[in-house]
């Protein structure tokens, strides 16, 4: 709908070629400049979430890492790691997409092959891991917004997607970055509260079965 309005604004039949050129010129500058502003804001969003998570009392016993290249923040307990800085599972916040971006918040495998390759649902697992996984999913399903477990990316156990659309950027201008990001901080805090115990159990079961063939 807006594309048609903007097309009419630039190329309206009643406009002279000079007017069309002038309007195209303005739209071009907005297009190119907004692209840069958008990228800057996306970087700001990730670093602000990282800062907020790092300073939050909620994650005082957690490791909070920022992967600038992957635009991802990892939040996990040190005991969830099998080696230093390599957790089996982690809470994650990831900025994804090239043109239209979204924020993915959820529970994610730090490495796709850990603790096993493939999706949790598809994999035949030892009984105690399966039980702890069922408990984990129960805790996720209790939270309505985590009603879908992604099948597309096997490294995500559960994910909730928030689109960075016109309304998002509009809210950002209206309320400021802090207020808008509060929603996502509380999202990750809620997720943590709902699943922490289940993740603990799941990790323990995984570690107990390290030497077994799955």
């Amino acid at each position: 709908m807006y594309e048609a309005i903007i097309e009419e604004f630039i190329f309206g039949e009643r406009l002279s070629d000079k007017e069309k050129e002038a309007r195209f010129d303005i739209a071009w500058d907005i297009w190119k400049s907004f692209d840069i502003i958008k990228s800057d804001l996306e970087a700001e969003i990730i670093s602000s979430i990282y800062k907020a998570a790092k300073e939050s009392n909620e994650f005082i016993d957690y490791v909070v890492l920022q992967d600038v290249e992957q635009k991802t923040i990892w939040i996990y307990k040190p005991e969830w790691a099998i080696e230093v800085k390599i957790p089996i599972l982690s809470y994650a916040i990831t900025l994804t997409g090239i043109k239209h971006c979204s924020i993915l918040i959820g529970l994610r495998k730090y490495r796709e092959e850990l603790p096993f390759t493939g999706s949790l649902k598809e994999k035949k697992l030892p009984q105690d891991i399966k039980t702890s996984m069922d408990e984990l999913f129960d805790s996720l399903f209790r939270k309505k917004q985590y009603s879908y477990i992604t099948q597309l990316q096997h490294d995500w156990i559960a994910v909730n997607e928030f689109f960075l659309d016109d309304l998002f950027y509009g809210n950002l201008a209206e309320k400021g970055i802090e207020e808008v990001l509060e929603q996502w901080i509380s999202e990750i805090v809620d997720l943590k509260r709902a699943t922490e115990r289940a993740v603990d159990k799941f990790i323990m079961a995984c570690i107990d079965n390290t030497n077994c063939s799955w």
């Binding site: 594309e3 903007i6 195209f24 739209a27 400049s33 502003i37 950027y169 209206e174």
Partner: protein, 244 residues
């Protein structure tokens, strides 16, 4: 102040109401989204216009045209223009006049002569396989290049053109994809102007005038090289282009 800084200040200006800021940002977002589509439409329309003109031109009336379509992204849009008698048994041309969008995102064009496969009617590009080509093929290619390079295409195109005045390039790369090109000319908006000016040119002069230029180049190419392509095909069909 640069444009980005100015726009950011304007969009997030605390001296206006929060509601106004929201509306400004949403409008900028919609413009950003729409311009991507609009410029794509303009590029597509440019190519469609050109194809329409080629199809309707009397110079190419006895030619067949294969158009593989333009898709958004980085894929090329090859246009094959050839005579029926230039075809191989499978119905594809051995050699054809080619028009390709090299980077459709910015609409740079390659116009030239291309082989349908890198093996036929002779293998590889003529420079790297020079020694192994039959003398008749080398002699025809030399005549083709000579005529092309001395055809003074650019005087015929005229001085009003905003494109870079350059020469025809002849096959010389070792890359397999380039082995298929026998001669080409690259038209890139960056040579003479920024990309915005390319679109402004379309608004100012219209699609017709902008694409007329490419059509003239194609006609000049045809005029200079058609007999030699006929000759290369004839040699091939007589079994004389196989590498020795």
């Amino acid at each position: 102040m640069d444009k980005v800084k100015w726009l950011r200040k304007f969009l997030f200006d605390k001296s206006v109401s929060a509601e106004q800021r929201k509306e400004r940002v949403r409008l900028a977002y919609f413009t950003w989204e729409a311009m991507d589509e609009l410029t794509f439409k303009m590029r597509k329309k440019t190519i469609n216009h050109l194809i329409g003109k080629i199809k309707n031109s009397k110079e190419f009336s006895d030619y067949k045209i294969i158009d593989k379509g333009l898709t958004k992204g980085i894929s090329n849009r090859p246009l094959c223009i050839f005579k029926e008698e230039w075809c191989y048994e499978d119905g594809n041309p051995l050699i054809y006049y080619a028009l390709e969008t090299l980077y459709p995102k910015i609409l740079s064009l390659l116009i030239g002569i291309k082989k349908y496969s890198s093996e036929l009617p002779f293998e590889g590009n003529w420079r790297t396989h020079f020694c192994s080509l039959p003398i008749e093929v080398i002699s025809t290619l030399c005549k083709l290049y000579n005529t092309l390079l001395s055809s003074n295409t650019w005087c015929e195109v005229g001085e009003t053109s905003w494109w870079w005045k350059s020469e025809w390039e002849v096959a010389g790369f070792g890359l397999s994809d380039w082995d298929q090109w026998i001669a080409w000319q690259l038209f890139h908006p960056r040579y003479r102007m920024n990309f915005k000016a390319f679109y402004l040119e379309i608004i100012d002069k219209g699609y017709d005038l902008v694409v007329d230029y490419y059509l003239t180049v194609l006609k000049c190419l045809k005029k200079a090289t058609e007999p030699f392509i006929d000759q290369l095909i004839k040699i091939y069909k007589q079994g004389g282009t196989r590498n020795v």
